[in-house]
Amino acid sequence: MNKRLSPRALAAISPLALLKGEPQADRVVPPTGFTARLTLFAAAAMTFLAVFALALSLATGRMAANWSQELARSSTLRISAPADQIAAQTEAALQVLETTRGVARARALTAEEQQGLLEPWFGPDLPVDSLPIPQLVEIVEDGEGYDAAGLRLRLQAEVPGAVLDDHARWRRPLVRAAERIRALGLLSLLLIGGVMAAMITLAANSALAANAQVIAVLRLVGARDEFIARAFVRRFTFRAFWGAALGMALGLAALLALPQAQAEGGFLTGLGLRGWHWIWPFVLPPVAAAVSFAATRAAARRMLGNLA
């Protein structure tokens, strides 16, 4: 059996040509209310869900990236002591840090750097020198990281004025969780696509079976399999596209209705889409159409190939 398609047939069946609407020729397949509604509903519902899976993946991806960036930054040691002891304590702290496993580098910030950090809050005219400002020590971890509890104990003994601020510690599991959620979001997208393909395949099979007599008549008057398959495929692709567009619109509306993200980017309020990420949902209807195209086409070919 010859299964190759002519270029003309391929052009006519290309996804773009399919979206132009139902040409006269597609009327050979009787309108089937049930499978039409099923396909529309499946595509709309699945796309609605896909919008959220997508938003979840993108938001958690964004969060993981932000947090990792901060992770890569150093932790800090804050040394508060009477002015005459600061230099000695800083020296002692640096020595402790140098002999701590897991610390790659430790460096006391210079007075200018400290002033630079404060400037946004107090303005450039602040006489930093005359204020009892704690000395900051920047700690860069190596790949393994250090044992924060052990370091605290040693510092307590040798540098009583030192406070270790290792915000990285609590961020790391959050980053891991965010990455995991992102992976789950992407997996959900795949599953949603698979379920949609399965539902559309079922709908297409049922439409093909319900139209066995139509297919027989078409064969008798000289229709090629390609023509028959196209009539079905077009219809399902078209429906899936508009169903998905509807689902996407509803999903986006729901996303827009979420409270705006706070400056701190709390987890729940950060779920919306940001910037160019808004493009992604618009990819869903074409993808749904493509999934439907492939599913219906496979179903039609299988069914027609089995006919005598």
């Binding site: 059996m1 010859n2 050979v28 009787p30 078409l218 064969r219 008798l220 008057v221 000289g222 090629r224």
Partner: protein, 225 residues
């Protein structure tokens, strides 16, 4: 155009048709007769590639049926117009659309053929019923619509299976007249029927050969009809 060579066919039991050889020449007019169940419909199906002979050869327009793909069979059906014994239509399309169906499925511009279509519908006396749905037609109207659909592509061969099966004498005369006229236009015609009256009526209008299926063989019936 249609050549059968030592062809045999069996649906699975014993052979229904055996040792059949026939060469349809362009412009010829044949009747195919024989008792009910003799295999007339089966024979016609072999002639348009719906069945593949279990032995021997069937060559349609130079192509061996056994070597034809599904697409080849579809293409052949555009050159052989068939009026089926149980004329089936697409019930959700109008009579006119059903008649134009072969044009549509072969990718031709139905709009461009609109005038031909209207003439054909008038010629078959269906102008009044063109907008009706097939289930609303009478038996004779169905037969005429089936004939119109069979000839819309201007095929070289027309195979009609009991085209007068469920119509009265007058209507069968009209259908016969349509087929005779098509034959005058150069089409090859084969009509399967067990209506001997129809064959006799035709003999005065056209030079027809009568084939009879008897005892699984195809015989040329004498002039005794």
């Amino acid at each position: 155009m249609i050549e059968l060579d030592n062809l045999a066919y069996s649906y699975g039991g014993g052979e229904l048709l055996s040792d059949i050889s026939l060469r349809l020449t362009p412009g010829s007019f044949h009747f195919l007769t024989g008792p009910s169940g003799a295999g007339k419909t089966t024979f016609l199906k072999l002639c348009y590639g719906a069945l593949i002979p279990t032995a021997g050869q069937a060559v349609l327009f130079g192509q061996d049926v056994r070597e034809m793909s599904r697409d080849d069979v579809a293409t052949i059906r555009r050159r052989i117009g068939v009026v089926h014994q149980d004329c089936q239509f697409l019930d959700h399309l109008t009579v006119a659309e059903n008649i134009a169906l072969p044009l549509m499925v072969s990718g031709q511009d139905v709009e461009a053929e609109q005038q031909n279509l209207e003439e054909l519908i008038a010629w078959c006396g269906l102008t009044q019923r063109a907008g009706a749905l097939p289930p609303e037609l009478s038996g004779g109207e169905r037969q005429r619509a089936a004939l119109a659909r069979a000839v819309i592509m201007s095929p070289e061969v027309i195979l009609a299976d009991e085209p007068t099966g469920n119509v009265d004498w007058e209507m069968s005369q009209r259908l016969l007249a349509l087929l005779v006229e098509l034959n005058r236009m150069g089409k090859t015609v084969m009509i399967a029927t067990h209506d001997l009256g129809l064959i006799r009526a035709a003999k005065s209008r056209v030079q027809a050969r009568v084939l009879r299926i008897a005892k699984r063989r195809l015989q040329l019936a004498g002039a005794d009809l």
